[in-house]
């Protein structure tokens, strides 16, 4: 009968999902709840955070990160600034590169498609530690990258020890300002502990080297997503467009790209989340240097907690980062939503519960 069948299926459903729910609850939900408590308490690291010696201190940790002038707020703002430029550079680059690679691999005239697919995806599979060490080696002052640039007549910088911001350097070479004597309007005014000159520094040369590495590493993963979506593009529509006289570029822009919108949304969302949380490269390669220009909130959270024994503040940084990512991805979904698709009505709007049950039986 309808109700009995549904009841048994529901029970079976719960039974099958129970292990995963338990694992997620124990290893995801509980630690996050505990970290939330640590961020509003004064735990010193000794014993459980839930023991009676630990007191509730309210939003003290958040205040010292956002409103009280001091070293903590300055470090947090520096990490936000660095990561902002990092995200701005990496997300578009890796999306475009992934799309380009996917289109290339999907081309009907490409021989050795499997080889190229594997080759492009390979960097994503290799351990990030191994890649980081190789890139450290490549980007030293006398490393392979600078040798290559030297062959082109460019004197490459000592990448990982160079803390100059790109915007500063480019403006300096264009004669807009001088890095040794910044314009007083910018260097004199402080916003949240950093001068405007420091806010508008752009990514440092060291951070740029890390950006190259990350784009190269993650493009492969997103290429696979685009590839799957590309293979879904209806061939008839494409041929119809060809018949109508559309050029290759017009076909790509008006037939392929709109079809890729959901995948684009996914790739950009994942890109934003991944780049705001970047930690591995900083931990392995630079420890936040040179001159704190590769400091990111995730690394700062780790260093504050484990190196500085300031557990509450480390947890607070992590939650602020979560809030930021949440706001950004929500914004991005709103911006990229499909305005033409009719809103899905809830189950009450169109079909009754019994009809759904019958459909499922």
């Amino acid at each position: 009968m309808g109700a009995g069948r549904l009841g048994r299926q529901a029970k079976a459903g719960w039974l099958f999902t129970a292990p995963m729910l338990i694992v997620l609850g124990l290893f995801l939900v509980l630690p996050i709840a505990l970290a939330m408590w640590v961020s509003v308490a004064n735990w010193t690291g000794r014993g459980s955070p839930l023991n009676s010696d630990v007191d509730f201190v309210g939003l003290d940790n958040y205040r010292s990160l956002l409103t009280e002038p001091g070293l903590d707020r300055q470090d947090f703002m520096i990490s936000l600034r660095n990561t902002f430029y990092y995200v701005l550079g990496v997300v578009p680059l890796q999306t475009v590169l992934a799309l380009a690679l996917a289109t290339t691999v999907n081309s009907r005239f490409l021989k050795g498609r499997t080889f190229f697919r594997t080759a492009f995806y390979f960097p994503s599979v290799v351990s990030s530690v191994a890649i980081s060490l190789v890139f450290l080696f490549l980007f030293t002052g006398t490393g392979a990258v600078n040798e290559f640039l030297g062959a082109l007549g460019i004197d490459g910088p000592s990448w990982f020890t160079d803390s100059r911001g790109l915007i500063h350097v480019v403006g300096d070479s264009l004669g807009l300002w001088s890095t040794t004597d910044p314009p007083a309007a910018l260097s004199g005014n402080d916003v949240m502990g950093l001068s405007l000159w420091e806010w508008f520094s752009g990514p440092s040369v060291a951070l740029t080297a890390i950006m190259f590495q990350v784009v190269w590493t993650t493009a492969g993963t997103f290429m696979l997503m685009f590839l799957a979506a590309l293979q879904d593009v209806p061939v008839e529509v494409d041929e119809a467009a060809m018949v109508d006289g559309a050029t290759k570029w017009e076909r790509f822009r008006y037939v392929t790209l709109p079809h890729l919108r959901p995948t684009m949304l996914l790739v950009i969302t994942l890109g934003i989340i991944g780049t705001w949380q970047v930690f591995d490269q900083m931990y392995i390669m630079t420890d936040g240097g040179p001159a704190k220009t590769t400091l990111t909130p995730a690394y700062l959270s780790y260093a504050t907690a484990f190196d500085g024994s300031n557990w509450g503040q480390g947890a607070a940084i992590a939650f602020l980062l979560f809030l930021l990512i949440f706001v950004l991805t929500t914004l991005q979904r709103i911006v990229l939503r499909d305005r033409d698709r009719p809103k899905r009505r809830g189950i009450r709007g169109r079909r009754s519960t019994s009809q759904v049950a019958e459909a499922g039986a």
Binding site: G45, R46, G70, S163, P290, A291, K292, A303, S309
Partner: protein
């Protein structure tokens, strides 16, 4: 459609997997309790308590170390086993991959290792959090005073210094002789050092290559009679003429071209600059011996004491101590183990094993007899200043080091002022 026995396979496999996973370590239980084993039949044990009775033996201690390599691990394990054999206890020595993290996990779980290496920079925070058990090591006065001061918090010494290293001046013999310098020219004052560095600076080689940060520049600060904090580490004293003079000396010589920072020479640290011969001299600690013999065996060099500044000789000490956890159950046994590991003979054995210097003054003469080439390093124990070990200053020191990366062009006054402001916020 399945027979009954076939239906039982999946649940059985599942159950056996669960049983394996939840098996637990029944073999690694608490050590044999002498009150319950039949081995020592003749011993009356009804009135003894397990914790404090060391002659009954059977106490199991856990030690966590951050090893520099196999030589150190083996030496420490051998020493711990020797103590274990002598007392009938047992010691399990574990090597940490990330010391800070593993110690933190231990303290948070309430089940930390009994004995562990504790770096001076982590000492203050752990002492303030109550993670450490304060004990007085045997023959405490024999340890160098600066090392004991490093591990003192609010007037109480918490642990025994394990060993130490100091900074000294390494000189490339080939470059030295090529510039026509002799033994009489080895610098004994800061002015002489600046002169010699200028003489040694050629087109392809800078006179002195320095690593960045207060762990190198601090030597010049000490030589000028200053320090970042006051004597009881309750207030910062960075914005003082003495500290400024020390940093100014480095800045002036970088501007003159006779000093250079390791990153500017495209190297990771002073030792690499020295080994690749981009610098004729460098200021590094004992660890440079191992690095040079492993990576740059062809470079011939000598080690001299750092020159004396206006306020006298000055160098920096780096040290770790044997920490004992407050939450450990075996304080007495742990203190005994530490006392065993810090006897002068044991410290000399460690020196021979992996190149550290003994933290006991009575062992200095023996060390110098064994390693006459390290006389300059051990002499630093007398006048060296220990590292900053006050609580809460990790981010402040990191910020200072970050600003001092650009010491060549930095506004030293404002750098020191910002250190004082930030440190006051933490200490005040």
């Amino acid at each position: 459609m399945y027979k009954t026995w076939q239906r039982a396979i999946v649940p059985l496999v599942g159950l056996s997997l669960i049983a394996t996973a939840c098996g637990g370590d029944d073999d690694a239980d608490a050590p044999d309790d002498p009150a319950t084993t039949d081995d020592d039949a003749g011993e009356p044990s009804d009135s003894s308590s397990d914790d404090g009775d060391e002659s009954a033996g059977g106490i199991a201690l856990e030690m966590l170390i951050a090893s520099s390599g196999d030589a150190e691990t083996n030496a420490v394990t051998a020493a711990a086993d020797a103590w274990a054999a002598e007392t009938g206890n047992s010691v399990e020595v574990r090597v940490a991959t990330d010391m800070n993290q593993e110690l933190a996990q231990g303290f948070a779980s309430g089940n930390p290792p009994d004995v562990f290496y504790l770096d001076a920079s982590r000492f203050g925070d752990n002492a303030r959090a109550g993670n450490l058990f304060a004990y007085t090591p045997a023959d405490n006065d024999d340890f160098y005073q600066s090392l004991r001061d490093t591990f003192t918090f609010e007037g109480t010494q918490y642990c025994a210094p394990k060993d130490f290293s100091t900074l000294a001046l390494q000189i490339n013999v080939a470059s030295w002789e090529a510039a026509g310098l002799t033994d009489a020219d080895i610098p004994t004052t800061y002015d002489e050092l600046a002169e010699v560095a200028a003489t040694l600076t050629t087109d392809g080689q800078v006179g002195l290559g320095l690593g960045t940060g207060i762990d190198r520049f601090g030597a010049f600060v000490v030589g000028n009679g200053g320090w970042w904090l006051n004597d009881d580490a309750t207030a910062p004293t960075a914005n003082t003429p003495e500290v400024l003079a020390g940093l100014q000396y480095v800045q002036d010589n970088i501007a003159a071209g006779s000093f250079a920072l390791a990153p500017a020479l495209d190297t990771g640290w002073g030792g690499e600059a020295f080994g690749t011969e981009r610098a004729a001299m460098t200021i590094e600690g004992n660890w440079i011996r191992g690095a040079m013999s492993n990576d740059f065996p062809d470079v011939e060099y000598i080690v001299a004491e750092l020159p004396a500044g206006p306020a006298g000789p000055g160098t920096l000490l780096f040290t770790q101590c044997w920490g004992i956890a407050a939450d450990s159950d075996q304080h007495e046994a742990a203190v005994e183990l530490v006392d065993f590991l810090t006897t002068p003979e044991q410290q000399i054995a460690f020196a021979e094993g992996f190149g550290v210097m003994p933290s006991r003054q009575s062992a200095a003469a023996d060390y110098e007899a064994l390693f006459p080439e390290n006389a300059a390093f051990i002499a630093g124990g007398e006048y060296g200043h220990g590292p900053i070990s006050a609580p809460g200053l990790d981010a402040v020191v990191a910020d200072l080091n970050s600003q001092l990366e650009a010491i060549g062009t930095a506004d030293l006054g404002s750098v020191l002022e910002s250190f004082d402001t930030n440190a006051n916020a933490e200490l005040g």
